[in-house]
Each structure stands twice: as structure tokens, then as C-alpha cells.
């Protein structure tokens, strides 16, 4: 293909990515934005097969590899339950980082001694950050999938191990830059993988989304750096866009959760030991039946439903909407109080409730719903815990301290639908459960809601 035409089409693909991000930032243009992004990506991919000055060998294995990737990626993306979507995004991000590290490694092997200093630096950056992104994302996946503990993993001497690993990464990077041979590159890659694991392990469950977003931005930057090595403008533009927007997004997310980015990433090292939770085990809680809950709801004027991840796990979105519709038909004012990080990621709960066709105007964001709690008769907390835990305000040093919460304690009555007394994702005891105005209804969220609905109908 003619060099100029090739470059112009590459520019079109790059413009598609800018439009895609622009579209994704507004509710109206979001879906179209994503499709424009996909068009840009397809154009870029087709284009590279006609790249001028390329050898165009190995076409069959390349096309086979693409087909294989599609066969793995598409069903995974289509079949995943929306509740598990955050870990899938983490996984996709990880493999992207891994791919960037591999691309830079291959280009490095090919360039050998002829690589310029700038190219070697870009390669070192790509391999280090790509490997950190890869292994870090795998750990976030394991945490979100609850294949490992969601609590911060802190072990004695951990911070020295991390500092040591980081020093090792830098030392091996300097070795790569000086020697220009392959074995230090492998050592550097291995140490970077280890660093990625150690870096994410101390992060508490509730902060994992911020880390995913950060690793996403990292992967973007590795793509940009490998674009520099390959002299591919499209990769530089796309990678930098993701790196820059991802950084902003990470900061916005951290702000929505009331966390400082620094505190999230390094909080585990500075956190004070938590108060023992063993004392509270013996305290009594008030548990009620579905009928009690139904009566309480029936005689209220305003009800706020606070949905949490437990609702999504129990697939109770539809039942909760049925309950809300029933209450509305009785003339009761119903709203959903949506915490910015309800679920596992910012905006995750909105996606889940949208899936159940909950009317948009009933979804009220935290800032708007908080002042209305004193006028609210009953708050129904369905499978949420950390987002209503007053410890975020009262207990300095606990993992969620400083996170804005829904002030449900100001309402007349609080009903918790819970499976057990097990603490939430962040692993902290919730004082509100022992409050005299709190009633607990134990059981699977969906079963409990179904019972409440039928009890309400019987009244």
C-alpha cells in the first residue's frame, strides 16, 4: 500500500479512538462511542496487513491466532454474568499488558545490538510495566472472583520484600540498558511479574477497582511505548489516550470513594492495626420475619432501597423491582439510594439495575439521597454492607475510613437483608447491625424479598 494512504487511514483509526473516548464519557453517546472505537480498531488491524516495508510472512499462523483469540474472547464477554464483569475487565487488561510486554521483547530480540538507547529504554519500560500490569491484573481477578482472600494481604517484612523487588527491577533494567543482551531482560521480566503480585496483594477488596483502573492506564502507556519502538503512530496515540484518560479516571474513582490514590496504593503499609472484632460476636441483634418487614414497609410513607453486591449475587434485581412497584402502587414513595461504588466498581450497580429495567428516575445518587434520610421511614439494605458502614466515619485506620457512605442511620428504621453476620467485602464489622432501630432478615436476598412481597400482598 502507498505509504501516504497507509498513514492517512492510520490517522482515521486514531481519530476514531478519540471520538470513542469522547462518546463513552456521555450517557447519550456511550454506545455509539464504543462502536466507533471498535471500527477504529478493526481498521487499524486490517491496515497492518498492508503495511509498507513489512515482510508479511507467517500469515496463516497470525490469522489462526486471531481466530483463536476471537473464539476465546467473544464467548467470555457474552456469557459473563454482569456481577462478574469487573474481574473480566481486569483479566482483559492483564492479557493486553502481557501482549505489550511480548511485542516489546520480540522487537528487542530482533533489533539486537542495533537498538538505539531510546528504543531500549522504551522496551525496558514496556516489559516492566506490561509484566506488572499482567500479574497485578491476575491478582485482582483472583480477589474479585473470591478465589483468594479479599482482605489486604500483609505479611511480616512485606514492605522490605516489595522495596527489594523494586530495586531488583531497576538494577536489572540498568543491566539490560548496558549489556543489550537477552538474559537480563528475562530476569527483569520475572522480577516485574513478582512486583505486580506484591504490589496488588496488600490492597483491600474495596479498593480493587481503583487498582484495575490504574493498571488499565499502565497498559495504555506500555502500548504507547511499544508504539515508539515499532514506529507505529497509531499505537502511540491509542496507548497514550488510554494512559492519560485512565489516569484521570483513576483519580475520579478514588475521589468518588473518598480515597486518596496514594492512600489506596500504599495504605496497607501505613494502616494502624484494626480493633479486634472478636468482642462483638456475643452481642445481640434484632432479627425479624418477612411479615414484620412487610408490616413495617406497609405503614411507611417513604422507603429507600440500598442495593449492594449481595443483591446482584442473589440475582434479586427483578424481585426488588417487584417489591418497589408494589410499594409504589400503595402510594409509598420509593427510591433507590445508589452509592457510587455499590457493587464492585463505580457505576456497577447502575448497570445491574438497568438490566432489571428499574426506572431511571428512581435511582438516586448518594449526594442527593443522603439529605432525605431523616424524612425516610424505612431503609431497606439489600446485600450491602460497607457502603452503609458508619465505621467509615467513626473508626480512623479501618480500611474504609474516609469513604463517603449512605447515612442510613438517620432514617426511622433500617432493615438489613443479609445472608449471615459475615462482614462485607472490606472485612469490617458494621456497628449499625447492633443499633436498636435495625432489624435483620436473614436469608438469601431473593428468597427474603419474595417472602416480603407475598406478605405485603396478603396484608
Amino acid at each position: 500500500m502507498n505509504r501516504n494512504l497507509y498513514d492517512v487511514l492510520g490517522l482515521v483509526a486514531a481519530a476514531c479512538f478519540i471520538l470513542a473516548l469522547k462518546g463513552l464519557s456521555s450517557p447519550k453517546g456511550a454506545r455509539r462511542g464504543n462502536i466507533i472505537g471498535a471500527i477504529g480498531a478493526t481498521l487499524g488491524t486490517i491496515l497492518v496487513f498492508w503495511a509498507p516495508g513489512s515482510a508479511h510472512k507467517h500469515l496463516i499462523p497470525i490469522l489462526g491466532a486471531i481466530a483463536f483469540g476471537v473464539i476465546v474472547g467473544v464467548p467470555a464477554a457474552r456469557k459473563i454474568q454482569m456481577t462478574q464483569m469487573p474481574q473480566l475487565v481486569a483479566l482483559f487488561n492483564g492479557v493486553g499488558g502481557g501482549a505489550a510486554a511480548l511485542v516489546a521483547t520480540v522487537e528487542y530480540l530482533k533489533l539486537g545490538k542495533s537498538a538505539s538507547t531510546a528504543e531500549v529504554l522504551a522496551t525496558v519500560f514496556t516489559v516492566v510495566v506490561g509484566c506488572v500490569s499482567f500479574s497485578g491484573s491476575i491478582v485482582t481477578f483472583l480477589k474479585l472472583q473470591e478465589l483468594m482472600t479479599t482482605r489486604p494481604v500483609i505479611f511480616p517484612g512485606g514492605r522490605f520484600l516489595i522495596a527489594g523487588t523494586l530495586a531488583g527491577v531497576f538494577a536489572s533494567a540498568a543491566w539490560v540498558i548496558n549489556s543489550g543482551t537477552t538474559s537480563p531482560l528475562l530476569i527483569m521480566g520475572g522480577l516485574s511479574l513478582l512486583f505486580g503480585v506484591l504490589f496488588v496483594l496488600p490492597v483491600g477488596g474495596a479498593d480493587v477497582p481503583i487498582v484495575i483502573s490504574l493498571l488499565n492506564a499502565f497498559t495504555g502507556l506500555t502500548v504507547a511505548a511499544s508504539g515508539y519502538v515499532l514506529q507505529a503512530t497509531l499505537l502511540i496515540v491509542a496507548g497514550t489516550l488510554v494512559g492519560a484518560s485512565g489516569t484521570i479516571l483513576t483519580r475520579l474513582m478514588a475521589a468518588a470513594m473518598g480515597r486518596s490514590l496514594f492512600g489506596t496504593l500504599f495504605g496497607a503499609f501505613t494502616a494502624k492495626p484494626q480493633a479486634s472484632t472478636g468482642v462483638s460476636e456475643a452481642r445481640s441483634v434484632k432479627s425479624g420475619s418477612a411479615d414484620d418487614v412487610a408490616i413495617l414497609l406497609n405503614y411507611s410513607q417513604r422507603v429507600v432501597i440500598v442495593p449492594g453486591f449481595g443483591l446482584a449475587v442473589a440475582q434479586a434485581q427483578h424481585t426488588v423491582r417487584e417489591l418497589a412497584d408494589l410499594l409504589t402502587s400503595k402510594g409509598i414513595d420509593v427510591a433507590y439510594g445508589i452509592h457510587p461504588v455499590a457493587g464492585r466498581m463505580p457505576g456497577h450497580m447502575n448497570v445491574l439495575l438497568a438490566e432489571a429495567n428499574v426506572p431511571y428516575e428512581q435511582l438516586v445518587e448518594m449526594e442527593e439521597v443522603n439529605p432525605t434520610f431523616p424524612q425516610t421511614d424505612v431503609v431497606l439494605v439489600v446485600g450491602a454492607n460497607d457502603v452503609v458502614n458508619p465505621a467509615a466515619k467513626t473508626t480512623p485506620g479501618c480500611p474504609i475510613y474516609g469513604m463517603p457512605i449512605l447515612d442510613v442511620a438517620h432514617a426511622g428504621n433500617v432493615i438489613f437483608l443479609k445472608r449471615s453476620m459475615r462482614p462485607g467485602f472490606a472485612g469490617i464489622e458494621n456497628e449499625l447491625l447492633y443499633d436498636p432501630k435495625t432489624t435483620l432478615l436473614f436469608g438469601d436476598a431473593k428468597d427474603s424479598l419474595t417472602k416480603v412481597v407475598s406478605a405485603l400482598k396478603a396484608l
Binding site: 470513542a20 463513552l24 464519557s25 450517557p27 454506545r31 464504543n34 462502536i35 472505537g37 471498535a38 480498531a41 487499524g44 488491524t45 503495511a51 510472512k57 507467517h58 499462523p61 497470525i62 491466532a65 483463536f68 474472547g73 467473544v74 467470555a76 464477554a77 457474552r78 459473563i80 454482569m82 464483569m85 469487573p86 487488561n93 492479557v95 493486553g96 501482549a99 505489550a100 511480548l102 511485542v103 521483547t105 483502573s213 488499565n216 502500548v223 504507547a224 515499532l230 507505529a232 502511540i236 497514550t240 489516550l241 488510554v242 484518560s245 485512565g246 484521570i248 479516571l249 475520579l252 468518588a256 466498581m345 456497577h348 448497570v351 438497568a354 438490566e355 429495567n357 426506572p359 431511571y360
Partner: protein
């Protein structure tokens, strides 16, 4: 302007665009935006294909083919899952009307 410097200029200007385009996104869209941006960096597929095309040894070929597989999963899967998320938002709006 040297080629390296031209690429550096593109890099710096892209940073500003990246900052600018997402400056005013509501929390509701954080998750789809992250997922969409995640799909976009799947464009590393282009780099993976380029190095695979020019591979001169079996080791290079194997590593770059592996990169093609991983990058394809990232790109294609990323766009599909983002679309699924956004599809639900659209359904919600239809309900309101």
C-alpha cells in the same frame, strides 16, 4: 524534525487530548468507560501482527503469535463486554419514555 521527535510530539499532544476528553464523566459511566478504554489498548494487536509478520526466528514467531492471541482477546472481548454494559443503559432509557 527528526522522526523520534515527531513521535514524541504525538505522544505529548495525545496526553492532553486524553485528559480533556474524559474530564467530565459521571460516576455512572466510570465502569463502561474503563472497559472501553481497556478495549482500545487492545490495539497492541497491530503491534503484535507487525512483529509476527517480520519474525526472523522460531522464538520470535512463537512469542509474537502468543501476543496476537492475547491482544485479540483484549480487543475483541473488551469491545463486546462494553457493548453489553451499554446496551442495558439503553434499555433503561426506552423504559422511561
Amino acid at each position: 524534525m527528526s522522526n523520534g521527535l515527531a513521535l514524541l510530539s504525538i505522544f505529548v499532544l495525545s496526553i492532553f487530548i486524553g485528559f480533556e476528553v474524559v474530564a467530565k464523566v459521571s460516576t455512572t459511566l466510570h465502569t463502561p468507560l474503563m472497559s472501553g478504554a481497556n478495549a482500545i489498548h487492545g490495539i497492541i494487536l497491530v503491534g503484535a501482527i507487525a512483529v509476527a509478520n517480520n519474525a526472523t526466528s522460531n522464538l520470535q514467531l512463537i512469542l509474537s503469535i502468543l501476543a496476537v492471541v492475547l491482544a485479540t482477546i483484549n480487543m475483541v472481548g473488551g469491545f463486546v463486554v462494553t457493548d453489553r454494559m451499554l446496551e442495558m443503559f439503553k434499555g433503561k432509557k426506552r423504559e422511561v419514555k
